[in-house]
């Protein structure tokens, strides 16, 4: 057997790849994150906003980019391709070819002077060709690594960039480089390729300027896009008054060979129309669609808001063709409604393009020896959704199948667990930990401040008179040293800073240069290496917020730079060293819920070497899955369930607590103390993390004679009938959305359409002559399930739409059910007399969720499901650290989705469990108990439940749970007695900073 290797290669630096990398790096593995493009960020970086929260995409992505870029255990390899793989799971040699970048990453400061001076303009692919870039460029300004590169195809080699680069980062003789990475496993996250809308010639993309793709439109909406966030049409820059969104372009379309549904387009189409309306009030957005597939958590509410709040018009029709009107360049959209051809004029048309396998999927599959499915995406199985056909190679994100961001993020974390479980024995073996000298005690010293002012090549020095600022700084109180640097962030300057700290006995350091958002960590590292606490460092941003924005006012800019330095010196004089609280970690996990998700999560943790307490309120394991007998795929769910139960039961690391409830939860991340109650027998379990996998319940219908007529059953009951051979019916009708998408439960239950299709196919298999009708609102067979829908239709299953206007008319005569439904395509009401009426009942939240949520101090959605920390990027986290979420408890979902989420929750838990101690933020709230009046104003304000009231000498006093505090300072500014101070941003510090800024120089 070969030696295992504690490192992982992640292929693809989109959001999925980044999430997988961060999880694995945080739980003790070395990660190589490879991207074929020059920077990470993937498609998400191109997006303006994200649904359903309308969060600014870059705002939430950028911190992740920075985290990945700076992580000591993540090694970025950009502009590179995989060329081959050798070895086996646990020990692979992957060969990688890095394309030349012509810019040295270690030297490039990302200042952009090279691009400013580059005489060659090229089309900016990142902005979908709506803008220009230069032949030396970065993908986008927030990109990581922020290293420029030369587009060799465009570059004429004039040498200007090398000349103007003061950091000497340009290297024209850069060469292609082959490297071999020795890794234990591989995670594939290469994402997807947008469908090329040119292939739908009838829609005119590429011929008509005012027909754009949805990706183009994201850039149009973006504030940093070509039009600065104004919604303009590309032909003449007018704000369009009427915009059409055409859905399913390149999806659900056998003509172009893509039978599947791209899963995210309905939502992004709605999002784009909502954002368009926000950016250009008064614009009328019309969405042409076949089915609205807003099947995700709270997506249906978004759909409703789009209709009701934003007046987005929805037209259920596939657009036949689009013509350009000469002169106005407006567009005539032709479509058919109820067999009637119609046309409507729009000023702009947005084509919602589908997802296709990544461009180099075939080459990648060949190089890595993995199988692709019929659609060219990565081949996986229902019960192993993140495993490829090759052991040791895992997959996540859209390469596994079209999906949205949260699904990708969940899958990414899931893949991270699976990829590291085969090398769990190698945890922390290839990671680097840095040893620092002991911290110098500065508490009794007067402040001795050193100020380092950066020229940033010409970026600062070209506008601000740096020597003048240095001289000025020297005269400020407490400043004992000041100097200027060409690039303060360069390697040699770090050495210089360290030496200066020692030589001049500095105990506060200020760098006046660029933004702390990117550079503070670097300088903190430097001062720490010189023996100073990192909180004794401060920055003045005299570039991004001074020299760059006042380029034509050098005098004022210099004055401002001095003000900024003076004011930060005032703050720095008051800085205190802060310890980073360290929390010990109990190395075992608690999983609540013994269904599929709970068992899978427990199994994942156990496989990684951690003990798990698995708590199940019922007497048996299995949960919801016990009632599922078929899936849409070939696998037998019961067989899988039994084998999983067996594995879990036999696993010595897993301690089962059946018939057990949770009574109480105390503590916080790393150290939870949970009281279990097994029929009155109480016990306590300690755990470092808690995973909530409590599942959900099938809705008991009260409509359509359910419980009155014995021929009315739920889908679950139908499955039982079929498996027991009791299905006799000659005519079966199914009604969708029973108990969901209505007034009392506005959300979509996501899985019922799939269930209905699955069961109708089963019926057709058991008795082909049985007539099957599915009465649906929107057929939400997203992703590859669309193909099953097609199959069902081709096998004669008849699907008829109904909705709140066109209701189902159901009566019974002597137990014989009779229903009729208006069918617009034939213009008649269709009478059906089903022997069996199957209701697709909603999946609803457990009633005891509220109780559990309270104990865990985690929130619920309106409809009672658990609410995660962030819909997009933290789908299995809670705002409360150390508590995670998966499966149906989160929202209704399919088996493979639950499994991916279970592994994801395990992955997130592993980032805690794998550590001996957690180091947390030092800049947190601090309560002066003498001043605290116990008024409790702060307690509910804290979103993280980091403040609790404690008894101190018989009085209630606020107490900060250091492990939970994130340092936002909301409590501090609300405290009426001034008892709470925000360390590192204390009132004194801020006020001193403000006053110094206002003092006349």
């Amino acid at each position: 057997m070969t030696n295992k290797v504690g490192s992982v290669l992640v292929v693809g630096g989109g959001i999925a790849g980044i999430q997988a990398s961060l999880d694995m790096a945080d739980s003790g593995f070395r990660v190589y994150l490879l991207d074929e493009s020059p920077g990470i960020g993937g498609v998400m970086a191109q997006l303006d906003k994200t649904f359903p929260t309308n969060d600014c995409s870059m705002c939430i992505l950028a911190p992740k980019l920075v985290a990945a870029g700076r992580h000591p255990n993540i090694h970025l390899i950009t502009n590179a391709d995989i060329t081959g793989i050798k070895g086996e799971a646990g020990n692979f040699d992957v060969s990688v070819r890095r394309r030349p970048r012509y810019v040295i990453r270690e030297k490039c400061t990302g200042c952009g002077v090279c691009a400013e001076k580059c005489p060659v303009e090229a089309i900016d692919e990142f902005n979908q060709g709506l803008m220009n870039r230069n032949s030396i460029y970065v993908k986008y300004v927030q990109t990581v690594p922020l290293t420029f590169l030369i587009d060799r195809d465009k570059c004429i080699g004039c040498g200007t960039c090398q000349e103007v680069c003061r950091a000497k980062a340009v290297m024209y003789d850069d060469k292609e480089e082959d490297v071999v990475l020795n890794v234990g496993s591989v995670v594939l996250a290469p994402g997807f390729e947008g469908f090329d809308p040119r292939l739908k010639r009838e829609y005119g993309y590429g011929r008509f300027t005012n027909v754009v793709s949805s990706t183009d439109f994201e850039r149009i909406l973006s504030a940093s896009g070509p039009y600065g966030g104004m919604v303009l049409r590309p032909y003449d820059g007018e704000v369009p008054r009427r915009i059409a969104f055409v859905q399913c372009v390149g999806s659900r379309d056998s003509q172009v060979g893509n039978n599947y549904c791209s899963a995210a387009c309905c939502m992004y189409g709605m999002k784009e129309s909502i954002i368009a309306k926000e950016h250009a009030p008064g614009v009328q957005c019309t969405i042409f669609f076949m089915d609205i597939r807003s099947y995700g958590k709270d997506f249906e509410l978004y759909y409703k808001r789009a209709q009701d709040e934003y007046n987005v018009q929805f037209i259920r029709s596939r657009v036949a063709s689009i013509d350009e009107i000469p002169g106005s360049k407006n567009l005539k959209v032709k479509y058919v409604v109820n067999e009637q051809p119609k046309e409507e004029e729009f000023e702009l048309v947005v084509l919602s393009i589908g997802m296709q396998p990544p461009k180099h999927a075939k080459e990648l599959a060949k190089a890595l020896d993995i199988k692709l499915n019929d659609n060219g995406f990565c081949y996986t199985k229902e019960f192993s959704p993140v495993e490829t056909s090759k052991p040791g190679v895992f997959v996540c994100g859209a390469f596994e199948g079209p999906k949205d961001i949260p699904e990708s993020v969940s899958q990414a974390s899931g893949a991270a667990t699976k990829a590291t479980s085969i090398i769990a024995s190698e945890r922390w073996k290839l990671t680097t930990t840095k040893v620092y000298p002991p911290e110098i005690d500065v508490s009794k010293q007067e402040p001795r401040i050193g100020v380092f002012v950066c020229h940033c090549g010409i970026n600062i020095g070209g506008v601000v008179k740096v020597p003048e600022v240095v001289e000025y700084a020297k005269k400020l109180p407490n400043v004992v040293y000041a100097e200027q640097n060409l690039y303060t962030c360069s390697q040699d300057t770090q050495e210089k800073i360290r030496e200066t700290i020692q030589e001049h006995k500095l105990n506060r350091v200020i760098v006046a240069s660029c933004t702390p958002r990117t550079h503070e960590p670097l300088f903190r590292e430097t001062v720490r290496e010189a023996g100073l606490n990192i909180y004794l460092f401060e920055m003045a941003n005299i570039r991004d917020q001074c020299s760059w924005v006042h380029m034509h006012e050098p005098k004022e800019a210099t004055a401002k730079a001095k003000d900024l330095v003076r004011s930060i010196v005032a703050k720095a004089s008051l800085l205190n060293p802060l310890p980073k609280p360290v929390i010990s970690v109990t190395h075992s996990g608690l999983v609540i819920g013994g269904g599929l998700s709970g068992m899978a999560a427990a199994q994942d943790l156990a496989e990684q070497g951690f003990e798990v307490d698995l708590v199940e309120k019922e007497k048996d394991l299995g949960g919801h899955l016990r009632h599922i007998y078929y899936t849409i795929g070939p696998e037998d769910p019961q067989e899988k369930l039994q084998s999983l139960i067996k594995q879990v039961s036999n696993n010595k690391m897993i301690h089962l607590h059946l018939n057990t409830k949770i009574d109480n939860v105390e503590g916080y991340v790393g150290n939870f103390k949970t009281t279990l109650n097994s029929n009155g027998l109480k016990s306590e379990v300690n755990s470092g993390t808690i995973i909530v996998a409590t599942g959900a319940t099938e809705y008991k219908p009260t409509e359509y004679f359910y419980g009155i007529n014995k021929n009315v059953v739920t889908q679950r009951e139908l499955e039982e009938m079929m498996v027991n051979g009791k299905l006799q019916a000659k005519t079966v009708a199914m009604i969708q959305c029973v108990g969901s998408r209505n007034e009392s439960n506005p959300n979509c239950s996501r899985i019922c359409c799939t269930q209905a299709i699955k069961n109708s196919l089963k019926i057709k298999e058991l008795s082909p002559e049985t007539e099957v009708y599915i009465l649906y609102k929107d057929m939400r067979t997203y992703g590859f399930i669309e193909e099953a829908y097609r199959e069902a239709v081709s096998k004669g299953v008849i699907c008829i739409r109904y909705d709140d206007e066109n209701k189902i008319n159901l009566t019974q005569e002597n137990d014989q059910l009779k229903l009729s439904i208006w069918e617009p395509t034939i213009g008649l009401s269709v009478p059906i007399e089903p022997d069996l009426l199957v209701l697709s009942a909603a999946t609803v939240a457990n009633t005891d969720n509220e109780e559990t949520a309270k104990m865990l101090k985690v929130p619920l959605t309106k409809d009672g499901f658990f609410l995660e920390a962030h819909m997009k990027l933290r789908p299995v986290d809670f705002a409360t650290e150390g508590v995670f979420l998966c499966g149906l408890a989160h929202s209704p979902k399919l088996i493979e989705e639950s499994l991916a989420q279970a592994s994801a929750a395990a992955s997130r838990a592993l980032t805690v469990l794998s550590k001996n101690a957690l180091e947390t933020e030092g800049a947190i709230s601090n309560v002066n108990e003498d001043l605290c009046s116990g008024c409790k104003v702060c307690e509910p304000l804290c979103e993280y439940h980091a403040i609790e009231m404690k008894d101190v000498d018989g009085k209630k006093r606020a107490h900060v749970l250091e492990a939970l505090c994130k340092g936002c300072g909301v409590c501090g500014s609300a405290c009426p007695t001034g008892a709470i101070s925000m360390l590192h941003f204390t009132d004194n510090q801020i006020i001193a900073q403000v006053r110094a800024a206002l003092k006349e120089a």
């Binding site: 004429i156 200007t160 024209y172 104004m230 380029m551």
Partner: protein, 257 residues
């Protein structure tokens, strides 16, 4: 009255000016329309000088330097040649006849050639007639265009390309390769066109804030062309949106260095 063209000559000190002297010493007669500005080397002649001269109504500008290989400063004349080529392309964009600017080589011993060239040039300009921007009723469009052209000739991008042209085409570029002349010409003419268009837009917006459509009408460019350039200019901080009138953004110029 017969048209007497005003011609400004920029002559290098060592060959052409000496050639002009020799014409005089030899009493070779030529038309008196030329006014000579002496510079040390034809390489000194900034495209700016020529455009400025044309903007002020010169009917012709004659640039003269040493023959290739004879330059007192080794190869200043060859740089002058590249600049003249760029200028010809640029002037052609403005509607002014590019023939009004002309480059010739005259050595110190070619007094007769000097006189001949001046005569020919004067004849040619006489035939062309007065510069459309001279006199009482100057052609405002061409004048505007020339002002835009002058800004263009001062553009970093063009000057870098022209300044590097010889090195790239005749010796080697940063990668040690020779850049084919056609490739460079293509890049240069592309750069001339776009920068010129941008400067026209900029100059126009300096006077008055306008929409894409209005700009397109006044500059006789497609709306798409205008918009594409506005996008770039906004990114460079040259333009801003002043207001949105109904569905129409109105752009204004911003101060640039």
């Amino acid at each position: 009255m017969e048209f007497e063209p005003k011609i400004v000559g920029f002559l290098c000190n060592w060959c052409s000016y000496a050639g002009a002297d020799l014409a005089g010493v030899s009493r070779i007669q030529y038309p008196p329309n030329i006014r000579i500005v002496r510079v040390m080397c034809s390489g000194r002649i900034d495209p700016d000088f020529i455009l400025e001269t044309l903007i002020h109504g010169a009917d012709g500008v004659l640039v003269m330097g040493c023959h290739p290989g004879d330059c007192h400063y080794i190869e200043g004349n060859l740089h002058a040649e590249r600049k003249a080529k760029m200028l010809r392309n640029l002037i052609a964009e403005t509607g002014l006849e590019p023939e009004r600017m002309h480059l010739e080589w005259v050595s110190a011993s070619e007094g007769a050639r000097f006189a001949q060239l001046v005569k020919e040039f004067t004849d040619r300009i006489t035939k062309l007639g007065p510069s459309p921007i001279s006199g009482e009723n100057p052609n405002k469009v061409i004048l505007e265009n020339l002002l835009a052209a002058k800004r263009t000739a001062g553009d970093f991008r063009l000057r870098v390309i022209v300044g590097r042209e010889r090195e790239l085409v005749e010796d080697k570029n940063a990668y040690g390769e020779k850049v084919p002349q056609e490739k460079l010409d293509e890049l240069l003419s592309e750069a001339i066109k776009t920068e010129y268009t941008r400067n026209r837009i900029y100059n126009m917006l300096e006077k008055e804030s306008l929409s894409v459509r209005e700009l397109s009408k006044r500059l006789d460019l497609s709306t798409q062309d205008v918009l594409t350039n506005i996008v770039v200019m906004r990114k460079k901080g040259m333009l801003g949106v002043e207001r949105i009138e109904g569905t129409t953004p109105i752009y204004m110029s911003l101060e640039v260095r």
